[in-house]
């Protein structure tokens, strides 16, 4: 609506107000996202460090995803563990058990 009005008043060629509005919306969104991605990177690093203490992990197989919904946000952590990851640890556990 406001876009149309601006166009009407500033002549047919005035694309700059559209550019300005698009940029403002985009940057407001991106600034929020970038703040988040720092948090995600930190989370990913720390989760990786903790799990690596006990299991040999491929750092590329750890995925951390944050989704913001209107009422609920979810943090999804997906860690792929190699098949034969801790036979030794398992054996020790059984011995103890």
């Amino acid at each position: 609506m406001s876009l149309n009005l601006l166009r009407l008043f500033s002549g047919r060629n005035a694309s700059a107000p559209v550019a300005r509005e698009r940029l403002q919306i985009l940057l407001a969104h991106e600034r929020g996202l970038l703040g988040q991605s720092d948090l995600l990177a930190t989370l990913r690093e720390e989760i990786l460090a903790v799990v690596s203490k006990h299991v040999v992990l491929d750092p590329d197989k750890v995925m951390v995803k944050l989704e913001r919904g209107k009422t609920v946000s979810t943090l999804e952590v997906d860690i792929e563990v190699p098949n034969n990851f801790d036979k030794k640890a398992l054996a020790e556990k059984r011995m103890a058990g």
Binding site: A19, R20, L23, L27
Partner: protein, 271 residues
């Protein structure tokens, strides 16, 4: 008091190298001792714009790696005796620059010069981070174009988080330099205007460089635009910007290029 200034941008092709050369020459002309350092490893161009491409023997990476001493790599400008160039390597591996090595070179340059102007590669990769790492001040070069303004916003974020100053809790002084500005098109609403850009980036303005044929003419002959034709509109804008860097108060004017009748008729524009 030596000042380290990074000339940076998110998007490529907005005029970082042209601006580094022009500001460096303008500062040198006003009596400061200046070195311009090319951080664009692999795609060096500052030597070409400065007209020193055939005089490069050693480069920044040679100095960082200890292959050459700093004085061996520094090239003195042919026109100004207090303007120097430290070129980038074209062929070497980009990872040859290390944080520690760059820090050492910058520290050595600081003891020799008043101004160290670092010409950054475009983007948000390691090269750009290293170029801004030790900066006290930053000039963010941007065009009045949505993609350029958006990427500038990212770079401003990096200047506030990835520099040594930011990590110490200090500020990197930031300035926006708008290049390729066409006042007539902005007035017709076809181009983002200055106020829009500054409001969106929330960073003070260093200067407005008008779209002009003189910029291309100067780089064609390998002379900083401020030396090639000091009376041209872009040269005057760069000289004003350099005075603002030195702390002078200079009124902000948008110097328009005078277009000939035939140019107007044919609607020609500088490339």
């Amino acid at each position: 008091m030596a000042k380290v200034l990074v000339v940076t941008s998110g998007k490529g092709g907005v005029g970082k190298t042209t601006s580094t050369a022009a500001l460096g020459a303008a500062l040198a002309q006003s009596g400061q001792s200046v070195v311009v350092v090319d951080f664009d490893v692999g795609l060096r161009n500052l030597d070409l714009v400065m007209g020193a491409e055939r005089r490069v023997v050693f480069d920044l990476i040679n100095v960082v790696q200890g292959v050459a001493k700093l004085p061996q790599a520094l090239i003195r400008d042919k026109r100004l005796e207090n303007l120097w160039l430290l070129p980038a390597s074209q062929t070497r591996d980009k990872d040859a620059l290390t944080d520690e090595g760059v820090g050492r070179v910058i520290a050595e340059l600081k003891s020799r010069f008043d101004w160290i102007l670092c010409d950054s590669p475009a983007g948000i990769e390691r090269g750009a981070t290293l170029a801004m790492r030790y900066a006290d001040e930053a000039v963010i070069v941007t065009n009045p174009e949505v993609s350029s303004v958006r990427d500038s916003d990212r770079i401003i974020g990096m200047l506030d988080s990835k520099t040594v100053r930011a990590e110490r809790g200090e500020r990197v002084e930031k300035h926006v330099l708008i290049t390729r500005y066409d006042p007539a098109r902005a007035a017709r609403g076809e181009m983002l205007n200055i106020d829009d850009i500054l409001e969106i980036l929330a960073t003070p303005l260093l200067g407005i460089i008008p779209e002009s044929q003189d910029v291309l003419k100067a780089s064609n002959v390998g002379t900083p635009v401020t030396l090639n034709n000091a009376e041209s509109a872009p040269a005057r804008a760069y000289i004003d910007a350099s005075r603002r860097l030195m702390g002078e108060e200079v009124a902000m004017v948008v110097p328009a290029e005078r277009k000939g009748f035939m140019n107007r008729l044919l609607g020609r524009r500088a490339a």
